[in-house]
């Protein structure tokens, strides 16, 4: 009565053919790349990879440096880049958690899975400062491992460079010595420049920052973070919070720093009411920057503060 056997038969044949094709594709040898294909979430990490890898690495940075690396979309282009990567560098500790796991999952690339040598997570390599989100109320933006914004700390990046040099050497043993040499050189230059800048800045500076993304300046410059424009991480400044901040800081001297992508209104309020100078600064070097780009960024941060 219902002559549909033929069609059913065809469906199953089709399924079998498609599955067989997929299996054949799976068995094709993967292209052996000469250099390391490295994908870095932020341009600060890209700097390290470029400096250490030089001609033996091709580096792609995902997060545009003028954007908040917390809030990105897991774009198809990210997944395409990760699909071809030998190595993924991330800061970790929750900074990229809103998008990177989805991009990793969509990339179908075993090499950059968490736990694989091709996955390099900065937060595993350095000791993190405590995050203010660990002590405040849970507002959905908690960095339980610590403050992940250590891209503003050249000393930790120097440590990271050494660990990265080692890891890249494990992936490409034939270049291990070269990578390690360059990593040491990179670490030296970062430390030397940090020391030089710290000596130029007038001592005992006080700063107010927007988010906890510039806290790590305390680690290498003679500064102390005395307040945040955000009432809680991820929540824009409120009038009440800003008035209280002004009340607390009345009569003192300092500088307000915020990222270029953050709204300037809170900083302007402090400038009007406290007379503190304000500066919008980049948090990361340009996407294609090498080490010089990062050293320049360090100078930019240091020069916002009164000099000796």
């Amino acid at each position: 009565m219902f002559p549909r056997k033929t069609r059913r038969h065809l469906t199953r044949t089709f399924a079998a053919v498609v599955a067989a094709t997929l299996l054949t594709l799976a068995l094709l040898p993967a292209q052996a790349a000469a250099g390391l294909n490295i994908v870095a979430t932020t341009s600060s990490l890209g700097v390290l990879a470029r400096e250490i890898g030089a001609d033996q690495a091709e580096v792609r940075v995902l997060a545009p440096p003028d954007r908040d690396a917390h809030y990105l979309d897991a774009r198809p282009s990210f997944m395409a880049a990760l699909r071809r990567a030998d190595m993924l560098l991330e800061l970790g500790a929750g900074l990229e958690e809103g998008w990177l796991p989805a991009a990793q999952r969509g990339a179908n690339n075993r090499a950059i899975n968490s736990g694989q040598p091709g996955h390099f997570r900065g937060a595993d390599q350095v000791e993190l400062r405590r995050s203010i989100t660990m002590d405040g109320p849970n507002m959905g933006h908690v960095h339980a491992e610590g403050n992940p914004h250590f891209n503003s700390d050249p000393l930790r990046l120097a440590e990271l460079a050494l660990a990265l040099g080692q890891r890249m050497g494990e992936l490409r043993p034939e270049h291990a010595d070269t990578f390690m040499e360059r990593a040491e050189h990179t670490a030296e230059r970062l430390r030397a420049h940090a020391e030089a800048l710290a000596e130029q800045v007038a001592p005992d500076q006080r700063i107010v920052v927007y988010h906890e993304d510039l806290d790590y300046l305390e680690e290498w410059l003679p500064v102390e973070v005395v307040g945040y424009l955000e009432p809680a991480p991820g929540i824009p400044p409120t009038a009440r919070h800003l008035r209280r901040l002004v009340g607390d800081l009345e009569g003192t001297e300092g500088t307000v720093l915020y990222a270029e992508f953050q709204p300037p209104r809170g900083a302007e309020f402090l400038e009007r009411n406290l007379g503190w100078p304000t500066h919008a600064v980049p948090l990361d070097p340009p996407a294609d920057a090498g080490l010089d780009g990062y050293l320049e960024l360090m100078s930019t941060w240091a020069q916002t503060l009164p000099q000796r």
Partner: protein
Amino acid sequence: MPRTHYTRPVLAGLTALTLAAPGAAAAQWAAPGDDSAWDLDISLILEGVYFNELSEGISDPAGFDDGHDHGHSHGHDHGHDHGFDDGFNLGHSELVFEANLGDLFDGVVMIGFDEDHLEVEEAYLVTRGLPAGFQVKAGRFLSDIGYINSRHVHDWDFVDRPLVNEFLFGDHGLQETGVQATWVAPTETYTQLGIELLQGDNSFIPYEGAGGSHSRDGDTIHSSFSDVSGPRLITAFAKFGPDLGPDHAAQFGISGGYADTWQQQTEHGSGLEEWDGDAWFAGIDAVYKYSSGRAYGHGDWRLQGEYFYREVDLDYQRRQFDTNHERHGITGSGTSKQDGLYIQGVYGFAPRWEAGLRAEALGLTNRGRIERDGLDTTVPSFGTSYRHSAQVTFRPVEPVFLRAQLSQNDFIDDHGHRDRGLEFLLQLNVALGAHGAHRF
């Protein structure tokens, strides 16, 4: 019915590959730290919806009552398509468990619930360790056809599911048990190809199987359906995402599916009506996102649209009860052809605030299921239904949003009568716990 089972060895092969390949990889590297350990993430998504029908229109669009209500295991027997009561509703809340076995598998269980129902929406394993860009997912999951089908309420830009997805694939979208294999090409432009072998028992393809019967006064009509073993539904999809630089991102998809079995019956006092056939669908989807680079989504754009078309090729027969066992009946064949589309845009008009518009059409082509017409059969033809929605969303903190939506239904009923209804919805959605990363 004698049948050739090609799929069995295929499934077995895929499963074996899934299990074996990552195991070989895992031996190569023991990760430092503890990120390879058992790690269970739990998140809870709670939703509340206030619904108010400001003016009553036509509750169901014409031509879609067949697959939509029947064959649905836990029918939402509310008077209209949303399943919302006038007033307060718990909405659609979810409890999500995610765990991984090293970097071999991710396991996901998603339990959806409202006041009356608790349902395992998704429960699957997905490989993380296959070579050459392959991934296999097995279990119960939302099909990756189209764009919105695989997304949960928390990720939607409007309170309710688009009409085309709801009426072509069901209240939960195309949600099925089976196996999915995807491959991501090693290309500059993101290219994902996927295929799914699915059991095939849902609103899109109802299934009865053999052995049914309908009796009255000692007369029994035996169902003419045969058992058809799964998978009865096969789908395929392709997604492309070019690299458009730091400000723009887009993804384009095409998808389709074929179901070899479409069985439905209706029991009457006078006899039994049966529809038996097969069905296919095809569709396209596109998403574009603009990122302004400003804080809290201010100035961002999202545009999204989908079109789907389906055909159900049916043999119809109606058999009457008769105590003299002289069976009277009507038979016929006909093809149902239906489609629908939506397009929507959302703009971040202030930090943490966004507003959106959505326009939908259902049944631009609207040839319904074959039915009896006197002593003959006919394939009925219906008009097109429309819906227009506007929403404003506020996100006070990252995992919380409050959304107000106004929807105007401009539905046509089975008799060609058109009427407009206006609905207001207020939605509060909160994600608690280790809420996973969002897909594009």
